[in-house]
Symmetry: C2
Subunit: 339 residues, 2 copies
């Protein structure tokens, strides 16, 4: 254990960090005050209490501006947020703006404002209010609830997090012939196999377009920026094609899909390349085909897991390919595609 | 919303599912009963209440066998579990075994048993006990706590989950030249780039061993099972080498790293291949080098994120490469490596 505290040396910041090790969902709790004002705030102190009768609880700081409104409200609603509601969470965590402005609301008992598209909603009647130090604990009887199948917004260690389900296999050792072999627990194997199998589904479309793998890698790199210098290309295709990229570029130029850019390539002394109109059309057709393959895969993997996988691959690339980032950071703004 | 209930149609199973949309960490709560018996149970109803004074809460079913012990205990401890403590969570969630058997314990006030290697621990004195329907709510004053930097065990939707931090970039649109281009949001790009950049770090070791990429793919496949039939190889390298795998096999055979297996290859009519002793030695050297590359990458990515990434890639492969699985499922038990 890295940090220890006793009553004598109680550091509030450390205490907060220790509490933050417990992951939670994120909720927005709303009510209509006796004077008709709508109140709402983001809270992660929600939890279930009882199944029969159905009770839930949450707690509110006694110095909250909304304390009196919640204390006086007979009804309140708990909204469990889904992974795509981070922005809503932020809106209700800030003070002093009209948090409900522009939101499409349902109306619950006593005028309780109900948000839409949440992972779950619980409409409650206050059952008890208990003192809890600098917070007031609200216990509510659940009058009605609804639920949606969606990935949760998670809070852990003072920041938002993704959650993905754990497979039983995750904690099992993988079988392998040679100890530590190139198997299912080796990242290189998983990346290679995933890439090759995914790419195999796109390759028929390349064949239709008459492109080799190498030509496709160069063509797809040329979709990233309006013009790519030779040094961009060598960074972009570093470890992919190495010395074969020049050959693939020349082949694309020879086929009229790319051309040497007439514009000077800035600080870079070498040549720069860009797609021709027919190269753009070819790239757009391949993008559409590849996206269709991707959608099928993502649908079967599940939207949330797919987002987390992409996020982690981007994080991996920041570790193993920091130079590749410069291709993006230096990219000029998006250029609209031809209509 | 897919499910709605009102007081009139309150389905406990649906209510439990709706509550399960709120992700939580997992805790084990322990105490020493007045008669000296150690009690402990897994709970996810923990939450923080107050910073000053420092208070936390959790709730316990009134029909729990441990109710009287906790009701009578002056002290209790909350252990926030880390991602690698799923087994401990399961042990304390079951009834009627000696849950503490064989565990290395610290001792807290009043003989409270304290578990080790948790994400955080809070040693508490009961401050209040409140009724909450079929549960009793325990509010504890935190006397001391400690904390470790570790990934959390998460519970969501009735099962364990992984949590990984969210990057601000995850909710930002990526810039790209052509709309929907082959960029950072396209899974195929991320897989390809990750694979090529990772592989580029291993390639120097292949060069040392005088192996081409293709020969390496075949050699590494031969580490998976004692013998690989031609159909195993074509499944294993489907989309990787296609018609080039036979050529690479023959090249390995010619160099004395692999040989045609003398054993018949079972139902399969074709030839089967296996590593020679010098092929095993070569593979073991490459495995060691590749694992060293992997460790550096995983350390920089972080152990938890790396585990989640591997888990998601395995899940992706189950979607895009269901046949590849048969290579593993049919694998005979591990064969010990030569010492």
């Amino acid at each position: 254990m890295s940090t220890t505290a006793t009553a004598a040396t109680f550091d509030p910041a450390e205490f907060r960090k220790a509490l933050g090790t417990f992951a939670t969902g994120v909720t927005i709790i709303t009510a209509c005050a006796p004077d008709g004002t709508l109140v709402g705030l983001t809270a992660n102190s929600f939890n279930s209490v009882s199944l029969n009768p159905p009770l839930v609880l949450w707690s509110l700081a006694t110095n909250s501006l909304s304390l009196e409104a919640f204390r006086g409200a007979e009804y309140w609603a708990v909204h469990v947020l889904s992974a795509d509601q981070e922005e809503l969470s932020g809106r209700f965590a800030r003070r002093g703006e009209d948090k409900f402005a522009g939101l499409d609301l349902d109306e619950g008992p006593g005028g309780t404002p109900l948000l839409k598209n949440c992972a779950a909603r619980f409409v409650c009647r206050t059952a008890s209010q208990y003192e809890g130090g600098d917070h007031l604990i609200f216990i509510g009887e659940v009058l009605s609830f609804d639920r949606d199948e969606s990935a949760p917004l998670v809070f852990h260690g003072g920041r938002y997090a993704h959650a993905t389900r754990r497979d039983p296999a995750d904690s099992k050792p993988r079988s392998a012939h040679l100890a530590g072999s190139f198997g299912e627990d080796f990242l290189g194997y998983l990346l290679g196999r995933s890439h090759f199998r995914f790419f195999a589904q796109i390759r028929p479309h390349l064949a239709d377009a008459g492109l080799s793998d190498e030509e496709f890698y160069v063509l797809s790199s040329l979709t990233l920026k309006p013009t790519l210098s030779e040094s961009d290309l060598s960074i972009g295709l570093n470890g992919v094609l190495d010395d074969r990229s020049q050959q693939a570029v020349q082949s694309l130029v020879g086929r009229g899909l790319a051309r040497r850019s007439p514009e000077p390539s800035g600080a870079d002394e070498g040549a720069a390349y860009e797609l021709t109109e027919s190269g753009r059309q070819c790239a757009l057709r391949l993008i559409a085909a590849a996206k269709a393959v991707e959608s099928q895969v993502l649908e079967r993997l599940g939207y949330n897991d797919a987002q987390v996988l992409k996020s982690l691959l981007n994080r991996l690339l920041a570790v193993i390919d920091p130079e590749g980032k410069t291709l993006w950071d230096s990219a000029s703004g998006p250029v609209s595609e031809p209509t």
